[in-house]
Symmetry: C2
Subunit: 791 residues, 2 copies
């Protein structure tokens, strides 16, 4: 039970934070209300959100207390949108903001600067973006509060992550499955997540589902989601209940109760050997939207309705009555008790603020790069496949990579700072070897029939791409390393999350006080060209098109053509920072082209001429055959083989692209080749017949500033698909070897009569192969005539 | 209680369906096992999925019975992935497949063709794609079973939608929030959704969360989600329980119980005036994965484990022992009792099959285009704003459109076949006028303070883009019309759903028996250029880049530059069929450029020269200034104004693009302009300075085959954003009028000295404006010098 002094200190901090939040929304000047408000003190455009603010400041205030009284290692995730004013107010109050931005001190000067900077051109955002100390979750696009919280808690056994969930956000799909994180949280090796569902009842324009279902139904739902909820509120979210002092007391008691339960559960698991999943505690906090704000405006209720979502008083600059209302509102927090004449918070108010790095905004887990350790990557040569000659052997690239991942999991067994996340596809994607190093983490029932499930496994599989992505993001943002592997066709499910993470990385790179965080690594496999039985819905190579729209500093795309090159790509990308690496690789048997040393060089260069497949030795080629991706590489090499055999006089250069973002010029992407190198590889005037893994126009978009770009003829996936064989699929999309040869013939001027005959022969072979496939249901067994020796 | 004959008939149908499913997976020939299986009867590649099949055939079998006994109007949604063999078997048995595909009759010939076609190159998919009669939900990308089901049920008061949810799918975010559809289903005007959660316990490689949490927890969850669950199973999903006869009886009883409750709830609401949301019934069906399939293979349990997910017996063609196992398995269904010597199903087996269009696969709601009625669109002139001259007035385009939408809602008040879906953004997007016609549909508590909530409203707002999209898809697929409006930045949340819908449309267009369905209309507003207080996370114009990768037949993209053009676009797209229309329009005050007649012509042409803003009258222009999008149009017109004033001798042509897919050539898109028209508009040799709404490289990708494409210099969003004013944002991204003028000067050879001076002046003005914004927090009031009169 809070004593009188504690209650007073909490309430003072809360009032101060609310005052500062209102100030951020409205004021350009006169931050301490040293004189009556005048129109020129008001921002010309008032742009911000009040509705969620008082609830967020309330929670922050109380988290301070329990951190201090329990010496907690705690971070917070602010799920509700537009929570910026609340968080900024709180971290300015506790000093972190001024330590991070010394030009905004904790006094009247700083307060004025804070107010002017908020929601001002080029200033502070209204969300908890990377500019905000203590934030690792913006709350711009809603839905990821819980998955981020679980990601942060994994392998941080001492950490408590308070995750505030807005009742609007709670309606989203990602949040709705985010609750299931508790079936994957190991009470021994992981920290705790404390969900705080904030029911303030309204979104922008509507009530929320969670606030308008019967309380009994809500309780069943939360229990069914694996929690033991505690309810706190002032009676109703309509604000006619018990009032702040009672809510302070109830919330403080609820927090203590939940943290006791968390301690008990962790102790039972860690010391008592209890393996049953605990029913983790959580809090439901019901308060009025816009609590403590204007009750009625223009005769209509505002507080405790959706009308306080944004600014509850509009027209303040022009309407003296409204201006007076604003001043009354701000004075209702009794600023004279909260700040001294120089704008410094008065002593008692800060009584509950934790010390130093224990402050929510100063906890290093919320600036996770500071905790990052270099990844102990094994050398790739150990896993390399022997290549006696190009195409002499076949391997499953992802299976080869799995060996490296297994040993990386072993090397991090004690450190526990590397994890793999997958939507139930580890085995399907030929990565089973990772289970030799660790199990699949799983806190629901385990039966004797199960294989490789374990309480402490560091591979997490669940059929939710949203959880996989959100968990990985939370894990990376707190300084650890990881990989997300998915079927290529289904990673667009998290397109928007990848967008937002790229935006976070760009913003975070712009803050010198933020340390670089480990790269977000995607391994996309089971790709578009090998959906033999899954058909059209499983064929979508478009994720890359979305990723390459993001800030070039933050994105890389690799298309390794074989197993060794995949290893080399992994070595070059897994330990990078502040990046999104997209790696697209096959799981099916794939011909080996490059010995490991060549593969490493190939990745370092990004684009290479493959001399052994070319016939232009020392000359300018007549034509360039280029490929990016494993299946296009196979078809391009087969086309080169056909040309060697049938048009031996033609000088063909074969170019392979593994690092896709070498293609644009350096002013468009930091990996871009300079023009001289690009021109030397592709020529400026010869036809380039290009086989690309994805939608072909992406290549045109990347090279449109290059000399000779008009000579590129790109073959790729043209959205023609069905249930069929790999070869039939390349035929349908015009990427097959015969079509490539025909294109070479059509694009190369001055060929002899034999070329015309060859063109006809290619058409016949194409039709024959197609017929065979349709009749027999499989690719032709002899479809291996790509052989580099041209036999 | 089932009598003996009913039970026997149900079991026979189920065995027959399972037999046919196994046949589809394995057999090329010998479909009736007229002789012992030989290797050549087996497909060379066995590609398909058994695990989910027996559960799906079981449900289908039982739905047949209740449709017949109750004369139900019912469709089904098969959520679990790879459900193709089950559905195909069932609809071949009931005759629908042969009616749809007469070349596959219901006899031994047809059975052989069905088997050979399944998962065969170019044949039937393993999912319930558009090729499958009775399907409106493929189950390829998982997560949408419930949202599709609710979408189908809205405004279909007599329809019952049985939605089978796999326990794998249940882990996805979209499905997790899909349950909340019941807070939006009006028991008076809508039909019923009967969720059937099928717990077979495993995904590809792991158990499922829903099958491994305690039963009490599952029960709380389902009750908390608003349902009253009935449990059916053979004791455990390990298959050691009561066996099929008991499960038949229990499931039949459960279905009758649930359908009684549905009838009661609907009657209470429709006749008794009950307005409380019912606790809708649902079924939890727990059966072994791969039920009735091989129990153990190679000493390891297969049935009732994840090992029966795909094909439980592999290597059948090469291993005589396995071949015998397969034959034993197939004969365990006693095919001799199920089919006569000609392969026709024997009489008793079909006893429960409903008649004609009552069959699940023949119900017209599952081929919704057959029920489509033309939309009673009001004429656009009624809503047009008066335009006395270009830029003389300002309107909020979406607010103008809202008038038309309001009246469309009124005109469909009785038909109830048009709905709007939005993630809590109707008011925010200036569409409030629609509430003059109808409320927001809402079945949770309604309080006196609420506005425009109603039980029967036809606008549905929920903070789940997944539900909005899924509901709309279900609504369209059953032949009704609708619109999804969203902030532009957050529609990428449903990128993958749009991908999949486009794929469905392409496949559906290829089936002559499928009638065209109404277009999926997106109204994307609150767009990238006007996120003044929301900042970087709310700036993402990339959705279009993803959409334009889809089959050109299925996609359209419109960027109306003002209110009247938005009206004209709406008129041209709302009543289209088999399309995805993406309309990007502003909600902020926007200058009016075109009188309605010109706007209609502009949309019909797609690209127009705006003579009133051009100075090239009758001549070849020196430069073309082109725009697509409202903000680029403003900047381009302002640049043209500056050029008119300062370089009066320069012949400038201003071109506006409203239909983006006029830009590619006709072989790339059906809307593509022919080269002659394109060249006449843009010239083949003059610089084209192009202002585009989104990522600029999209324009290059669309025009790379055009003559003169090297002369295009595109300015657009380059992922440079923050909390700032509209003008600052265009400056940061190089799309502002000054930058455009500078680009014109840089690209136009032979300009006089005045141009050099102007270039310098533009740089100064740009900096001045920028400083003003940073100091005052708002755009310059005089930033209106785009005026067409050039003053």
């Amino acid at each position: 039970m809070l004593d009188h002094h504690e209650l007073a200190a909490l309430d003072a901090y809360w009032r101060a934070a609310n005052y500062l939040a209102v100030g951020q929304l409205y004021l350009m000047d006169n931050p301490l209300l040293a004189e009556p408000l005048r129109p020129e003190h008001i921002k010309p455009r008032v742009l911000g959100h009040w509705g969620t603010t008082p609830g967020l400041t309330f929670v922050y205030t109380h988290l301070n207390r329990v951190i201090r009284t329990r010496d907690l290692n705690m971070i917070h995730i602010t799920g509700p949108g537009h929570g910026g004013p609340a968080t900024l107010a709180c971290c300015w109050l506790d000093g972190t903001f001024s330590e991070t931005y010394p030009e905004v001190p904790r006094d009247a000067t700083g307060m004025r600067r804070l107010f002017r900077s908020f929601s001002f051109p080029g200033g502070l955002p209204t969300h908890n973006g990377p500019e905000v100390p203590g934030s690792l979750h913006e709350g711009g696009e809603l839905g990821y509060a819980l998955s981020h919280a679980y990601g942060a808690a994994f392998d941080n056994p001492d950490l408590v992550v308070a995750a505030i969930i807005g009742d609007g956000e709670a309606e989203t799909g990602p949040l709705a499955t985010g609750w299931h994180g508790n079936k994957f949280l190991d009470p021994v090796h992981d920290g705790a997540v404390l969900p705080i569902l904030h029911l303030n009842g309204y979104k922008i324009g509507n009530p929320t589902v969670f606030a308008r279902i019967p309380e009994e139904e809500l309780d069943q739902l939360l229990r069914g989601l694996g929690h033991d909820p505690v309810y706190v509120g002032d009676g109703t979210e309509r604000g006619d209940g018990a009032g702040p002092p009672a809510v302070h007391r109830a919330f403080a008691a609820a927090l203590d109760h939940c943290l006791d339960l968390i301690t008990d559960a962790q102790r039972a698991a860690r010391e008592g050997g209890v393996t049953e999943r605990p029913r983790w505690p959580m809090i439901v906090l019901r308060t009025p939207k816009g609590w403590t704000g204007p009750g009625e405006v223009a005769g209509r209720p505002v507080a405790a309705t959706w009308r306080s979502h944004q600014v509850p008083l509009s027209g303040v600059r022009d309407d003296p009555g409204r201006l007076r209302r604003l001043e009354e509102w701000m004075r209702s927090y009794r600023p004279e008790e909260l700040f001294d004449a120089t704008g410094r918070p008065t002593g008692g108010l800060l009584r509950n603020v934790p010390a130093g790095a224990r402050r929510l905004a100063a906890n290093p887990h919320a600036n996770g790069g500071r905790l990052r350790r270099a990844l102990p990557l094994p050398g790739v040569r150990e896993y390399a496949v022997e290549v006696t000659g190009p195409g002499a052997t076949l391997h499953h690239p992802t299976e080869v990579l799995a060996g490296l991942l297994r040993d990386l999991l072993r090397r991090t067994a004690d450190r526990r700072d590397f994890r793999i996340f997958a939507p139930d596809e580890i085995d399907s994607n030929e990565l089973s070897a990772v289970h030799e190093a660790t199990g699949n983490g799983w806190q629901a029932a385990i039966w004797p029939v199960d294989e490789y499930l374990s309480r402490d496994g560091r591979v997490l599989e669940t059929l939710s791409e949203h959880n996989c992505q959100g968990w990985l993001e939370g894990y990376l943002l707190t300084g650890r390393h990881g990989l997300f592997t998915s079927y290529e066709a289904f990673v667009p499910i998290v397109t928007s999350m990848a967008n937002q993470h790229a935006k976070w990385l760009k913003g975070s790179r712009e803050q010198s006080w933020r340390a670089p965080i480990p790269a977000l690594n995607y391994l996309l496999t089971s790709h578009v060209w090998r959906q033999d039985h899954n058909g059209f819905s499983h064929q979508d190579p478009g994720f890359v098109d979305q990723v390459v729209n993001k800030s070039p500093q933050t994105i890389r795309v690799y298309l390794p053509p074989d197993a060794n090159t995949l290893l080399a790509v992994a070595a070059a990308s897994l330990d990078a920072t502040d990046l999104i690496n997209v790696v697209i690789a096959g799981k099916q048997p794939t011909f080996d082209w490059l010995p490991i040393d060549e593969a490493v060089h190939h990745v370092a260069r990004g684009v290479s001429v493959w001399d052994w497949a070319s016939t232009d030795a020392g000359r300018e080629p007549d034509v360039v055959l280029a490929a990016a991706g494993d299946v296009p590489t196979l078809e391009v090499l087969a086309a080169a083989s056909l040309l060697r055999r049938h048009l031996p006089g033609l000088a063909v250069r074969v170019v392979n692209v593994v690092d896709l973002l070498r293609l644009p010029p350096p002013e468009m992407h930091p990996h871009g080749l300079d023009d001289t190198t690009f021109d030397a590889l592709f020529t400026t005037d010869r036809p380039v017949v290009f086989g690309y893994h994805g939608y072909p126009w992406l290549i045109h978009r990347l090279i449109y500033r290059r000399h000779g770009h008009d000579n590129f003829h790109v073959h790729g996936y043209r959205e023609e698909g069905t249930t069929t064989t790999p070869f039939d699929l390349v035929v349908r999309n015009g990427l097959d070897r015969y079509r490539l040869v025909i294109d070479v013939i059509d694009r190369t001027p001055g060929l002899a009569l034999t070329a015309v005959e060859l063109r006809q022969r290619m058409r016949e072979l194409r039709a024959e192969h197609h017929d065979y496939i349709r009749t027999h249901g499989i690719d032709l067994p002899e479809v291996r005539d790509w052989r580099w020796d041209g036999s």
